[in-house]
Amino acid sequence: MRFLLRFYVAIVFVFIFAPIVVSFVFSFSENRFPTLPLTAFSTIWYEKVLAEPVFLESFRRSLIVASVTSVLSTFIGFGAAYMDYRYRFFGQKFYVAIGMIPPMIPVLILGVAMLIFLSQVGLSGGLHSVIIAHVVLCTPFAMALVRLKLSQMPDNLEAAAWNLGANEWRSMRMVVVPFCWPAILAAIFITAAISLDEFAIAWFVSGLEETLPVRVLNLVARQSSPSVNAIGSFTFTLSLTLVVLAQVVLVANQRRGEKKA
């Protein structure tokens, strides 16, 4: 069993991290073609990307989509998780299950479905379409994170706030949100990372307003340029940072929780 685990970890490294490392390395190579041995170190490809308005524009769009999506889906995810925690109603389990479905649908199908739906209601072909589609995709992640945190909230904490004179809204603001804050932050980071990287759905619904991943794919489809390595390395670093930040807030909070127990 231990052998299998090691083997699996090795495979993960070879097939996931190796390409990333390679692309990282070549992004700093002067040579037009990825050849070994490496020739001179250079940041020329990064400069090229920065000089290209199309890339900057698509990156700006990606940032807008990611930030709006992360805030919206975390907000909705928190609301849904809280409803599930606080109230008992008919068909509750069913609603939660439905809410959790989007990430399990293949993105191609989700993308086509979103395209058809959004054009039906006249909302297709713009950044707002990408945002709507990404919120659908990301909300379940936010909801799952907040739900987990709420399940750790001591039974009487909210009631204690009411008992001390805080009405429901105040208790929400002064007790529930602060208690869930690490999960909320983590949800913002994670959903932003998911949205930043998401290509397929964005490709279907974005119309002319290409986001960065869409731009990159369109570029690669025509030619292979080391610029792609530069963009890839950059976005990978950005996403990784977001994911690591999410981990850090969650783990730091858990540590504190354990100390209490």
């Binding site: 009487n156 008992n163 004179g165 007790v175 208690f179 504190r256």
Partner: protein, 373 residues
Amino acid sequence: MTADASATDDENAALLRFTNVQKKFGDSFAVRDFNLEIGRGDFVAIMGPSGCGKTTTLRMLAGLEHPTAGEIRRNGEMINGLSPWLRRMPLVWQNYALFPFLTVLENVEFGLRNDKVSKIDRRRRASEWLDRLGIGDLGHRSPTTLSGGQAQRVALARALVLEPEVLLLDEPLSALDANMVVRMQTEIAQLQKALGITFVYVTHNQSEAFAMANRVVIMNQGKIEQVGEPLEVYRLPKTRFVAEFVGTNNIIDGTIVSHSPSGVVVETKLGQFVSTNPIDGTLGEASRVHIIASADLVSVSQDRPKDSKNVVTARLIGESFAGTIVILVFEAAGGQELKVQLQQRALQDLSLDPNQEFHLVFEPMDTLVIPSV
């Protein structure tokens, strides 16, 4: 005119009054037929075994549960459906329920923030309470780093800083170790006296209740069994349940034979008993009753006393020690178990051999007769 009438009503009204209060969860009753008056400045202990409805009663006072029938009035005003945040009846929770993301001082300030008290004022008032409860140096700490006793003090400060008319406490000492319990018990009792506010204190521990309260309420399966002063409930239990729940009582089943000038005569399988202390004087002949005798009021002798009334011969089958107090366990005719509680030094006059026969004397004055239901 009606306004006048209601004004006088209010003056005479008890601080808190339950009238036929009932609380059902689904089909089962958590509380029922609950009638109780709580006066200003009372220290009321609600006592009973786990699951008897104590917490539900307290939560109804706090507005966290709403009665399914009956009325709860405060100063004559019905508060059945009043939201918890409008009641100002702070609760000290069994698990403390301190806010883990706030410091100790911020926890104590919480209620004052809801009152929109200025920052300087609430800092000062919260600090004063922390000092008063002897934890002034913990203000900046996180509640997650406190010991049980410290957390309990923070919970008390957080509630009392609101200067409430009524304080609710739900088994506040149940998570503390024995020494701490005794200390906190004394502190809480002194605090209540000094503040003169009403405490409604829920516990399943009778020594806690008897040490602090001036009125105790014994509950069983959602109903009140008995209400009274601690000593009264202890010495004059009205039902078999109360007799078993408080103190160490001997309970012997019997039937009333007659009412004689010397007292009520009861026939039991251990012989006849005379009692000058029937709880209910109207019990007729042939009524089925229990004889209740507190273990500390029964005397033991090796020689048979002259008068044979209220004397039971029994075999010693066991003994247990709690500090300087000894409980001797005897077995009488028909397997009836009887307990006698003595001071350790009183034992020195008796020679105790297992299986030896002794004579247990029940004074007519200390022998209660209660109806059997």
